[in-house]
Homo-oligomer: 153 residues x 2
DNA sequence: ACTTCCATGTCAAAACTTTGACATGGGAGA
DNA sequence: TCTCCCATGTCAAAGTTTTGACATGGAAGT
């Protein structure tokens, strides 16, 4: 074992459940469950909601853009868009004006549905924000971004 | 808009990609991709690895225990265990000694495979740890746990 | 002892996601 | 201009996960 360190004060052994990776996974699983729960009441899935939210802020994103931003494949993104289109929440031009990318936009109904759902979803976000000491929140956001970029490069 | 605040110094508008929820999702997606990449080389999936890791630290966990700990359903857990059993990495008694729960254990081969894979996986964990200023790491871990528990209750 | 309730294991079907493949449009560089 | 390369959209198949349902073993309370 370790020769230098005498048996110090009782410290919990850092098992897997205290690793960064496990905690990130756990937080995400809890988030997913909470979002699923509130979205189901409005007949939307998490990827569908995420897509609406992104389109509200950056209208004209293509399927490939949205897929990257929601962390799924283009093929999955396509399924999501089809569902939203069938529900009348988004529109896509039948023909691409430039390249193959077809810019997507929210319909009036899409904006309305999003506004309604946002109340519920933001409440979930708020539960997270409220759980963190206010002065630590900016640091937490920065650190989460550091984790992501460290793994993405 | 906001009447009190005069236009201050240039601050980035907090769009969706800066919300806690989005960043947690992004970090987890990056983690998943990184883990998949290193595990694929060893012929294991992420749930399979997670299961091995948990069993190494807490031998005798049942399928239901493992499913909860790896954030999947019992049914998915069952598939994972079947795969590991077929690969000879774990053993499950054919009959339950108490209740219906069948305690699972690593085989010798399971321990060996885990030891090999751990090197690669811990390198991924280390990339995350290295990205965070050391004095902030304990706080980050604590905050991730706060996020999770806030959503779980 | 009996009933009720809960957790577990498992089967089958449905839903969702990814992998693999291919065609098309456009830009970069010879 | 022409060729090569890359990104996009989409189809089909495979793989994975969840939803739903059911049977069984034990524990708690009556």
């Amino acid at each position: 074992m370790n020769e230098r360190t005498p048996t110090g004060p009782p410290q919990p052994v850092p098992d897997v459940t205290h690793h960064v990776g496990y905690l990130v996974k756990r937080a995400q699983a809890a988030l997913r469950a909470a979002m699923d729960k509130v979205l189901r009441a409005h007949g939307l899935t998490v990827p569908q909601y995420s897509t609406l939210e992104l389109l509200a802020q950056r209208p004209g994103m293509s399927n490939a853009d949205l897929a990257r931003a929601t962390f799924v494949t283009r093929q999955s993104g396509n399924v999501v868009l089809r569902g939203l289109q069938d529900a009348g929440l988004i529109t896509r031009p039948a023909t691409a004006d430039h390249g193959r990318a077809r810019p997507t936009h929210l319909t009036e109904e899409g904006h309305r549905r999003l506004a309604v759902v946002q109340e519920a979803v933001y409440a979930v976000e708020q539960r997270m924000v409220d759980a963190i000491p206010p002065q630590r929140l900016p640091t937490l956001l920065a650190d989460l971004e550091l984790l992501a970029t460290a793994l993405e490069e």
